[in-house]
Amino acid sequence: MSARLRHHGVAGAVFTALVLIFLLVPLIIVALFSLHSSPSLTFPFKGFSTRWYSEVFGSEDFRESLFNSLKLALATAAFTLVFGTAAAYGVTRSGSRMSGVGVAIFMLPITLPLLFVGIALLIALRRVGIELSLLTILIGHTLIAFPFFFMIARVALERLDPMLEEAAADLGASPWKAFRKVTLPQVFPILLGAAALAFMVSLDEFVVTFFVSGNETTLPLFIFSRLRTTLNPSINVVSTLLMATTFVLFAFAFVMAMWGERKRARRAGNLMDVTE
């Protein structure tokens, strides 16, 4: 390696470190102050205490919003898993010219400003006469999470060899059996990862939730309402919990995607190595 290159390597490392610090320091500070022994949110740091955790978990409002958020995230993940897989499978297998239009429609919600989606959804729900409730939040979250799931599922399904489904049909599998026994097992880890992503999207969705929540509350709404009344480390506690959950889910999604990718690579290796 030449001196110049090594020099570049050092500069690159320093730059990367600076960016990481810039990105991570606020998160670390949030987490740190969730353990602050005093109500102050500014330095100097006076000492560690779990009192804010006790306070937050002791709060009825918090427990309700946490429970709501988890229910919503789980339901959103399940909904997108089922409908997103069906949509992605339909689009990749139809072979119709209209499938491009389908893709555009399914991707639409993430191309629009969330504010717009929230208002539009609120107006639509009012028109149809649906009461605002957890169900309407679920509709909103599914709408927002769907494109993320769809995008990943479509790529995963498109990369499969369609010949394998033909082989399954040839061996006596109905289209549904072929999907369940041959197609689904090959992409399932990736779909699970994508569903975890949908879970995350739902868990910290704020804008659309704000419009369609009615009297219900979720964790992000809880933080927002707390911010207006009290300014103490209890908000940091909730934020830290959200962050930790998101991190774990992201790690899960990543591991699932890697696992699926390894399976795919093995398969591709087999296809290429037809000559011994």
Binding site: E166, K177, D273
Partner: protein
């Protein structure tokens, strides 16, 4: 005739746009027959195979399996099995589960599945590989598993879509022998698609030669090779020389061509015309050693295109490049075919 294993009646197929890819195909296969659909790519042979498999519904005509009209029966309800060009093994299953796939769907009892999988593995000589993943098999092994996976279901007709074309030469030759043996041992009707005339000649009971969506010639390998009825057949099978004559084409097989150096004839020694009366003059343009023979390309001024000749290599030294030669042949072996399009 209801005793045909497979009967294809007036089958034609066209996609929305363009010319038909298949026109008016009639074929009848006796039980246990090995029929090869031979032709260049795009001639419709694979389309016909996929019609028999149920993957394409023909726009015209009918397909009968053992006398039963299956034209509108979807693939998963037909008692035929297809071996794909690439093995198409299920990557998430091991060899055992690949083989058992069809039997499980047919709700065959577990004990019987075990026995039949073992039998099938013995049949393709892969005992001991039952728990390999498909990614851990060589190309030849994967294709054997694919054959076993199809045969284990005891199909009425086994369809093979260029199953050897993705393998390299040595494995391909080995697999040719395997296919012949499997056909003998299982007594199943085989329909084999290939663009390789060598495979077609080596394996088939009968060959159907396809040309632009129609059967140009149907017969045993010997008939197709030695008594082609069209110039196209002669050209495609064995790459014969075609020479324009008054009323059509004269077909001359490469191995029937005799080359004699002009200088040797002039000197009067070894003017081995061997009673061959036909004679052309030419110049040797290329020589390739093929082991058993030399492959010559000879340019003859009287012919529109170079003449190809295969001459046994053991008896003689090769002729030098650029040598002036007499091209002769026994008039009995040359066939004249009518001019077609």
């Amino acid at each position: 005739m209801s005793d045909a294993a497979l009967r294809i009646e007036g089958v034609g197929h066209s996609y929305q746009e363009g010319d038909p890819v298949l026109r008016d195909i009639d074929l009848e296969l006796a039980p246990g027959e090995f029929l090869t659909l031979l032709g260049p790519s795009g001639c419709g042979k694979t389309t016909l195979l996929r019609i028999v498999g149920g993957f394409i519904r023909p726009t015209e005509g009918s397909v009968f399996l053992n006398g039963e009209d299956v034209t509108r029966v979807p693939p998963h309800k037909r008692r035929v099995n297809l071996v794909f060009q690439r093995a198409a093994l299920f990557p998430h299953l091991d060899v055992y589960d690949n083989l058992a796939f069809g039997l499980k769907l047919a709700k065959v009892p577990k004990g019987e599945i075990d026995g039949r999988v073992r039998e099938a593995l013995e049949l393709v000589r892969l005992e001991g590989l039952a728990h390999r993943r498909s990614g851990e098999l060589s190309g030849g092994q994967a294709q054997r598993v694919a054959l076993a996976r199809a045969l284990i279901n005891r199909p009425e007709v086994l369809l093979l879509d260029e199953p050897l074309s993705a393998l390299d030469l040595r494995i391909r030759q080995e697999m040719e022998g395997e296919l012949r043996r499997l056909h003998r041992e299982t007594d199943t009707t085989f329909v084999f698609v290939t663009h390789d005339q060598g495979e077609a000649l080596a394996l088939s009971d009968r060959i159907a030669l396809f040309d632009r969506g129609a059967i140009a010639e149907l017969g045993t390998p010997r008939e197709i090779y030695h008594r082609p009825t069209s110039a196209l057949t002669a050209r495609f099978v064995g790459d014969a020389n075609l020479m324009p004559v008054d009323d059509g084409w004269m077909v001359l097989r490469q191995e029937d061509v005799v080359l004699t150096e002009a200088s040797a004839v002039a000197a009067g020694n070894g003017g081995a015309t061997n009673g061959s009366s036909e004679r052309l003059r030419g110049t040797v343009r290329d020589i390739g050693f093929r082991g058993a023979g030399y492959a010559y390309v000879v340019e003859c001024p009287e012919l529109g295109e170079p003449l190809k000749a295969e001459v046994p290599s053991e008896a003689a030294q090769p002729l030098p490049l650029g040598a002036e030669v007499f091209v002769t042949w026994d008039p009995k072996v040359a066939r004249v075919l009518p001019k077609s399009s």
